[in-house]
């Protein structure tokens, strides 16, 4: 399924589709952007989605729903290995027709996208087995759909009390079976999320997740705001991957305006994005060490994490890289000797990280806790469309920096580390190896920066485009529409944490209770990024 298509098939997709469904599909190729636009009716949607995924090697990226004056526009975005670009399947349906065929039966990765759309827009996906409360919890009235255009996001909505006795139905029927609640407020410093673990004793049989405690409606409150306001949201909805998401947003806005960031800005964006990845991976490694209660290793990783934060803070002014991206480039320049200093700092950091890795590799009590724990097979990773280090630890070499190069990554030489075991240790190894790659990229880019401007002139234009980045936790897709008045009309955020939480239960189920926090740590996901 992977690596099964090359550029010629991208070019021949229109003919193949027209031959298969004569007169029923309309296909346009945007060769410059490598996007294939396929418009079809609802009756064919399922078949076409299945066809492009099984024969053409495309995989599901996101579902972006837009409300137009008289119709719904559903955009199913697919992407593939380098060379086949993107495929957008468009489905238009009249406003009053809210029943859309579900594709999650053939593409399971679309499951949560359909549930979210149903909950927030009120579109029904026929054939989907599990619609209902998802983003909005039980207390939210069923008939109020906040993402619809008539709903005023700025007014406080009348508040209802949550039901403290909320419990989903238990499916484990056995003597001694019980449901172990975790969250939403739990552990020392944990993001708010609720897990119910069904068990008959030691093993977790079923994991029920209740998320979106942190739903701040970023997609909705962006609507009608100018671009320079929305960029604050794109940075701050997930503070630990702020640079990646603001970059995706800026790239979408730049694409709409037909503006390309100057070469120096692009090179620096790569440096900063890799710096963020490095810091994020060190934080994830510290989390894994902490979950196994190996205290010296936790402290050592904690030291490196704080040093990465300080290096970032001293270099950019902000420890989490806020306030750097802007449409058209960056908000500030860095002098070349400071950049070389950053490369040296990153090299020293990675040297110490490697030493920590060398010690962890030979610590059997540590390995006992993460080896063969939280296993995700390659097939499962494909079915759930997993992304980022988690997918790469299960044998899928998915990396948007390679598959859909952006920001000049096509000229950067780096490895995409892949492991095949799919367990906690494989994920840890991927993190270590990627951190090394990031430091190497920083060195390459920061020591040979092109001269020139840091930002070109930028004028906002109306239109819509997809921006994407390989964020530290995996692929992120930002669909942005700018209206004639220069405000954001639609901002659809698909984040790696959202994508990967979908498959989290695969890793957590059939392992023991005490493995649960370790499996969580090896996933290293963010609820802020997932809930938006």
């Amino acid at each position: 399924m992977e690596n099964s298509m090359d550029e010629t098939t991208f070019q021949s997709l229109p003919d193949a589709a027209a031959k298969r469904w004569p007169g029923q599909v309309q296909v346009n190729l945007d060769v410059r952007r490598s996007i294939c636009l396929l418009t079809c009716g609802g009756s064919l949607l399922r078949d076409i989605c299945e066809w492009v995924c099984s024969t053409s090697g495309y995989r599901f990226a996101t579902l972006a729903v837009e409300e137009e004056a008289s119709q719904w526009l559903l955009r199913y975005v697919f992407y593939g290995q380098s060379g086949i670009g993107q495929l957008h399947i468009l489905l238009r349906t009249p406003k009053e027709d809210v029943a859309i065929p579900s594709i999650s039966g053939v593409i399971h990765a679309a499951d949560w996208h359909e549930r979210e759309t149903e909950d927030l827009f009120g579109l029904t996906f026929t054939g989907h087995p599990r619609l209902g409360d998802f983003v909005l919890h039980e207390e939210w009235p069923e008939d109020v759909k906040p993402m619809r255009s008539g709903f005023d996001a700025r007014l406080p909505y009348r508040r209802r009390e949550l039901d403290p006795e909320w419990r989903p139905q238990s499916i484990v029927q056995a003597p001694g079976a019980f449901m172990m609640p975790i969250g939403p407020v739990y552990s020392d410093v944990a993001e708010s999320a609720h897990f119910l673990l069904e068990t008959v004793g030691e093993d977790v049989i079923r994991t029920i997740r209740r998320f979106f405690y942190k739903y701040r409606g970023v997609e909705k409150i962006s609507e009608g705001c100018p671009v320079d306001q929305v960029i604050l949201l794109s940075e701050r909805f997930s503070g630990t991957s702020a640079f990646a998401h603001s970059l995706a947003f800026c790239q979408a806005v730049e694409e709409i305006a037909g503006v390309d960031a100057p070469p120096r800005a692009k090179a620096l964006r790569i440096v900063l994005a890799e710096l963020e990845r490095l810091r994020c991976h060190i934080a994830a490694i510290a989390g894994i060490c902490g979950s196994t209660a190996l205290s010296v290793a936790t402290s050592q990783a904690g030291i490196l994490e704080e040093e990465a934060l300080r290096i970032t803070g001293a270099f950019t002014g902000h420890r989490y890289l806020f306030g750097l991206n802007r449409p058209g480039g960056l908000t500030r320049d860095f002098n070349n000797s400071t950049c070389r200093g950053l490369a040296d700092d990153a090299a020293r950091l990675i040297e110490r990280l490697c030493k920590l890795n060398d010690m962890l590799r030979f610590t059997s009590s540590f390995l006992d806790r993460i080896e063969e724990v939280g296993v995700i097979s390659r097939e499962q990773a494909i079915a759930y469309g997993l992304v980022g280090p988690i997918a790469r630890a299960s044998g899928l070499a998915r990396d948007l920096r390679r598959a859909l190069p952006y920001c000049g990554y096509e000229t950067v030489d780096f490895d995409v580390p892949v492991e095949t075991e799919g367990d906690g240790y494989a994920r840890l190894r991927v993190l270590f190896r990627e951190a090394e790659q990031s430091a190497a990229i920083i060195r390459k880019m920061a020591t040979a920066l092109p001269d020139g401007e840091i930002a070109g002139p930028f004028e906002c234009a109306a239109g819509a485009a997809l921006g994407w980045v390989e964020a530290p936790r995996g692929a992120a897709f930002h669909w942005v529409r700018i209206t004639e008045s220069g405000a954001v009309g639609r901002y659809r955020l698909t984040t790696p944490s959202f994508t990967n939480w979908h498959g989290f239960h695969l890793a957590a189920e059939h392992f023991a209770f005490q493995d649960f926090p370790i499996i969580m740590a090896t996933f290293g996901l963010s609820n802020a990024e997932s809930d938006r």
């Binding site: 939403p184 708010s192 942190k214 701040r216 409606g217 503070g239 704080e306 002014g317």
Partner: protein
């Protein structure tokens, strides 16, 4: 296992000298616009440009409502702005001095302090900074501060995030579960005024709508040293930062 012991010993002590001495290392704080400077032509552009309305003209003076400042750097010199920025991290302010009668020597908060963190919709950066407190560079255990997993043992509730609708009840329950006397510290612009998210249909305008906030730690996110200052100010071991008069008058409840 001896290799880990040796590794730990060889690393030595990296912990900050603060609060004994000031921390002088680079990159420990994003800094923030300096308030109280004369208002000039550049200031009026910066006031206009400030996306969260943190910069305010007060007669001939430029004031900063630090609750709202999200360090976007748009007013910073070297970017587009011309407002002077200042380093530092002793930013935390006590909002309600009436509740501080028991800070006398021997008072209840003079000994070890247990802290429960509640994530009420934070972006992750505030939480990451809170996590650093437990790590070697900041190590709050040396100050007698401990993060606790249960509100029933907690003296201080650390709230981050604008308080989303779905977290309202959890926050309220966590506060109610704490034994008295108790204190609430609101961490970051979101918890102080809703930040860039609220108030909206799904998110509140900060923690003070749900629980009584005693100490405000501004910042987006507040760096770990500002959090330490906030905790020390909570228990009266450090003086509170001065706070813009507009915020005091509205009790920290005024919203955009």
């Amino acid at each position: 296992m001896t290799k880990w012991v040796l590794k730990g010993l060889r690393t030595g002590i990296v912990t900050t000298a603060y609060p004994g001495r000031d921390e002088t290392a680079g990159g420990v704080s994003p800094g923030r616009p300096a308030g109280g400077l004369p208002f000039d032509a550049g200031s009026s552009i910066d006031v206009e440009r400030c996306p969260t309305r943190a910069l305010i003209r007060d007669g001939q003076c430029l004031r900063v409502d630090y609750r709202r400042c999200v360090h976007c750097f748009r007013c910073a010199p070297g970017r587009e702005g011309s407002t002077q920025w200042q380093d530092g991290y002793e930013w935390a302010a006590r909002l309600n001095d009436r509740r501080y009668e028991d800070l006398s020597p021997g008072g209840v908060f003079r000994r070890s302090l247990h802290i429960r963190v509640v994530d009420a919709g934070a972006c992750g950066a505030c939480l990451s900074e809170i996590e650093q407190l437990n790590k070697p560079y900041y190590n709050i255990h040396r100050l007698g501060f401990f993060l606790t997993p249960t509100p029933r043992e907690a003296d201080v509730l650390l709230v981050a995030g604008p308080v989303t609708d779905h977290m309202r009840m959890a926050l309220k329950k966590a506060y109610e579960a704490m034994p008295t006397p108790k204190r609430v510290v609101a961490v970051g612009a979101c918890a102080l005024c809703g930040g860039v998210f609220g108030p909206s249909f799904i998110s509140g305008g900060g923690a003070s709508d749900i629980v009584p906030v005693d100490v405000a730690v501004p910042g987006c996110p507040p760096p770990p040293l500002a959090l330490i200052h906030g905790l020390l100010a909570t228990v009266g071991r450090k003086p509170s930062a001065s706070w813009p008069s507009t915020a005091l008058e509205s009790g920290g409840k005024e919203n955009v």
